[in-house]
Structure formats: structure tokens, C-alpha cells
């Protein structure tokens, strides 16, 4: 098992399976009358969020509290980073306070990798730029396993802004390692160059994607991509790539809908669809805490390289 969690590209199938299996065990813990265990008592974890994130940070924080770890939150606004302190100095300072684990989110890809070189603490990637968001990938797979049993042979379409999505990358690596088939669907301007290196199908029409897939993992579309000239208008995007009940009813099979949140209702996903029987979006959120507990628990025990 890797000591850090930097991305699913670097994880073996066994490691991914072990984390998810442990995630299910923690889901049981969360259903107990006292959903808290003393496991990480005495461990100190810092949540280093250089980018705004409410959901992921809360999910990690809750996971840490449920494991009885001591947590410190560090967010950029008002911190010394805003005053020009380098990342290396920040992490050195934090480490001098005897931190066991760092959960980091940053807009630059590779920051978790960079941090492994400046500290002895265990590094958990909570999203680095356009690179990876491994815990999201893992909780997406866990949610699919929970609902559908196994992801082996499952056809999953990732819909939307693949180019700027770390969620997409982690999903691709994780799903493929567990034997699922992955397709991408979005305008060519939002599909990264050489995406075919991943051995994925690519669809430019949501109807084709729905006919092909069993699962749609729909990504958030950021409106600033429109001003950057990557698609012409919100209206045109919704018409061509927005997922609607009507489009889903055109095929005669069960489709599962996922979304990493936060949802732009009415843009990438029709208003009520997120709350429909197709959706496992809230399961993703619930599983997120259990899965993150599993990651924190398993990584807390991996020793530094001898």
C-alpha cells in the first residue's frame, strides 16, 4: 500500500479494493448509536485548503472527528500564504507543530506530490488542480458497488467538462482498474487532447452516451468556461449535453445518475432529476464520509519508508 494518497493512477487494484471495502465497514460504524470510534486518538491532521471547498472539507473534517483525530483547519484567506509565504515554508511550519497527516487541496497540480518531498507527514490529496481528486473517485466507485454490486463490466459515462476535471481523471483510473468501461461525453473543446490514451469511448451527443452507458457521472459546468470561448452559451450546452428525464426515458433500461456536486440545476442536470429514483447523489455524500474515514484509517498506519 502506498503511504500517501496522491491519485488513483498510482494505486493498485488491490489498494483501491481494500480502501473501498474498509469504507463499507466504516459505513456500519456511522450507523451506530454513537457513530464515533477512538481509533485515531492522539493523531493530528491538518486540512490545508488553498482553494475554496465546503463539501470536501466538511466531509474530511467529519471523517476525522468520527475517528477521534485532532484536526486543524488552514484556509488561505487571512493566512500567511496570502502574505507571500511559500508553500514549502508553510508546510515546514505546520510540520514543526508535529502533524501526522495533511489533507491538501490546491489549484496547482502536483502540490500533494511536492509536499511529500518537504514533510514526513502522510499526504492525502483532496484535489490538485486539474489532476486528481482520488477520494471522490473512490467514493463514486463505492457508491456504484453499493447500488449495483460490482463495477466489473459496468459502462460509466463521464459527462461534461472533462478537460478541467480532476474528478474525471480519478474516476477514469479507478473505474478502469476495477474492470469498468469508461466513456467521456462533452463538447470537443472540453475533452482533453489525447484522451484516447485512456482507452475510453468519446461521445459528442448525450443521447448516444445514454444509449451506451449504465451510469452517467455528470460534472459541474463552470460558467467561466463559456467566457473563455469553450462553448457558445448556457442554452446550447443544456440542449446538447444537459441530462433530462425525457432523454433518459427514451432508452428502455435503468440508468444511474451521479454528480460530485455542487449541482447547477437546470444546466447540466434537469431540475428534479437530482432528487429522482435515478439519482445516487446523496448516497455519494454519505459514502464520502465513510470512504474518507477508511482512507485516513488505512493511511495512518503506513510507516515511512525505511
Amino acid at each position: 500500500m502506498n503511504r500517501h494518497l496522491l491519485g488513483l493512477e498510482y494505486c493498485s487494484r488491490e489498494e483501491i479494493e481494500s480502501i473501498i471495502q474498509t469504507g463499507f465497514s466504516f459505513k456500519e460504524v456511522l450507523s451506530r448509536p454513537i457513530p464515533k470510534v477512538p481509533t485515531l486518538r492522539g493523531k493530528t491532521i491538518v486540512n490545508l485548503f488553498f482553494e475554496n471547498s465546503t463539501r470536501t472539507r466538511i466531509s474530511f473534517e467529519l471523517a476525522q472527528k468520527r475517528l477521534s483525530a485532532d484536526t486543524v483547519n488552514f484556509s488561505v484567506a487571512g493566512s500567511s500564504v496570502a502574505k507571500g509565504e511559500s508553500l514549502r515554508d508553510t508546510i515546514r511550519n505546520i510540520e514543526a507543530m508535529k502533524i501526522d497527516m495533511v489533507v491538501v487541496r490546491h489549484k496547482s497540480p502536483g502540490v500533494p506530490c511536492f509536499l511529500t518531498e518537504c514533510t514526513d507527514a502522510v499526504i492525502i490529496n483532496a484535489g490538485d488542480g486539474l489532476h486528481e481528486h482520488p477520494t471522490q473517485g473512490l467514493l463514486d466507485i463505492m457508491t456504484l458497488q453499493e447500488k449495483l454490486g460490482s463495477v466489473e463490466g459496468l459502462k460509466v459515462v463521464i459527462v461534461g467538462d472533462i478537460l478541467h476535471s480532476r474528478v474525471a481523471r480519478s474516476n477514469i483510473y479507478g473505474l478502469q482498474k476495477l474492470g469498468a468501461k469508461v466513456a467521456l461525453c462533452g463538447p470537443p473543446t472540453l475533452i482533453p487532447v489525447k484522451a484516447e490514451q485512456w482507452g475510453v469511448e468519446i461521445f459528442y451527443d448525450i443521447g448516444d452516451a445514454i444509449r451506451w452507458g449504465d451510469v452517467l457521472n455528470i460534472l459541474r459546468i463552470q460558467l467561466e468556461r463559456q467566457s473563455a470561448g469553450l462553448f457558445p452559451s448556457r442554452r446550447e450546452y443544456t440542449q446538447r449535453f444537459g441530462v433530462t428525464l425525457e432523454k433518459l426515458r427514451r432508452v428502455d433500461k435503468e440508468i444511474t445518475i451521479m454528480h460530485p456536486g455542487p449541482i447547477n440545476r437546470g444546466l447540466e442536470l434537469e431540475h428534479d432529476l437530482a432528487d429522482s429514483e435515478f439519482s445516487v447523489i446523496l448516497d455519494q455524500v454519505t459514502n464520502g464520509v465513510a470512504l474518507r474515514m477508511a482512507v485516513l484509517y488505512l493511511k495512518s498506519g503506513v510507516p515511512a519508508q525505511e
Binding site: 485515531l40 492522539g42 493511511k299 498506519g301
Partner: protein, 186 residues
């Protein structure tokens, strides 16, 4: 890798069944029947052992006693001292244990640390009226002030020895053996 070396048979299959019946009788006698009992078996051999004792209870009193399984990994006191995090096992306690007499079942009582962890875990699940401990073998060498209420056999051991409890329902045959284990370097 651990390699087991067989030293002696402590309880044979027939004796094992007799011990189970005696333990069931003692529990029923001391707890005043099966009415308020809940059995919780510890991973990995406590749970199948609990099942066997419950069978004997059923033979004697013709009642179904609720059973659950408990994994204490998350409550262990050596979690920060291990090289690698332990893989968790299933905890499945489908009934309410509040106000019940919980019969905690494990195969071998040794340092007492597992039982300490199990009691913490149990209390987080609800507030039992009483907790009673049943073990097949008490091999001594306690680290903590813990004592079993019902013991299959008291077996003095040396630290280099280990006790192996085999169960028909998972190992194919009942029995208790004294073994020595040597760590094999790999």
C-alpha cells in the same frame, strides 16, 4: 509468516462438546435463564464459538438467543504501534443491547486487551445491564485486571506457546491444541 508446530492435544472433540454443554448450563444457571441474554462473539473465533454455545442453550431451554459479531480493530490500544493498519472485519449487532445481559464470547483469554477494547466498543453500541465473559481457554498472562466469568478450561502456558481452538463449524473438527509458533523470516 507464522508456522504452527503441534505440541499437545488439550481437548478432544468429545470433550469439546461436553465443555460447550457445561458452559451453556452455567450461563443459564447464573443468569437465571435465557430471557434477557444477548450473545456477542468476537472476531474471528469468538463468533462461531458463540453460535455453538447458543445451540446448546437451545437444546436445553428451546429458545432462540440473539447473536451479534463484534470487530474491535478500531478500539485497539496498539493501533499507533503497528506497522500497518489492520483490515477491519464485520461488526453486525442487529439487536438493541441496552438493558440486556451481554454474553461476550472469545476463544482464548490472554492479555485481556481485546476484552478491554470489546467492552469499550459494546458500550458505544448501547448500555448493557451486565456484561459477562465466556472463553474456551484461559491461558493466563493477563496485562489488565480482567477475569472471565465462564471458562472452558484453565491452561497454564509459557509465552512461547500458543493455544489453537478449532471449531467444527469453521475448521471441520472441534478441539484445542497447544502449539508453538516461530516467526519465519521472509
Amino acid at each position: 509468516m507464522k508456522k504452527e508446530k503441534y505440541l499437545a492435544e488439550i481437548i478432544d472433540p468429545n470433550g469439546f462438546q461436553r465443555t460447550l454443554r457445561r458452559l451453556a448450563s452455567e450461563i443459564l444457571e447464573q443468569c437465571g435463564g435465557a430471557g434477557n441474554l444477548v450473545f456477542i462473539g468476537l472476531h474471528t473465533r469468538g463468533f462461531p464459538l458463540a453460535k455453538r454455545i447458543i445451540e446448546c442453550v437451545k437444546t436445553e431451554e428451546n429458545v432462540d438467543v440473539p447473536i451479534g459479531s463484534l470487530d474491535v480493530t478500531l478500539y485497539r490500544d496498539d493501533i499507533n504501534h503497528r506497522a500497518e493498519s489492520l483490515q477491519m472485519q464485520v461488526t453486525d449487532v442487529p439487536m438493541d443491547i441496552a438493558g440486556k445481559t451481554v454474553i461476550l464470547v472469545d476463544d482464548v483469554l490472554y492479555t485481556g486487551r481485546t476484552i478491554r477494547a470489546a467492552m469499550d466498543a459494546l458500550i458505544d453500541l448501547g448500555r448493557p445491564a451486565k456484561i459477562r465473559l465466556v472463553v474456551m481457554i484461559d491461558r493466563g498472562h493477563r496485562d489488565l485486571p480482567i477475569k472471565a466469568d465462564f471458562i472452558g478450561k484453565y491452561l497454564p502456558t509459557s509465552l512461547g506457546e500458543e493455544v489453537s481452538v478449532k471449531l467444527k463449524n469453521i475448521d471441520g473438527e472441534d478441539g484445542v491444541y497447544l502449539v508453538s509458533t516461530e516467526r519465519e523470516e521472509t
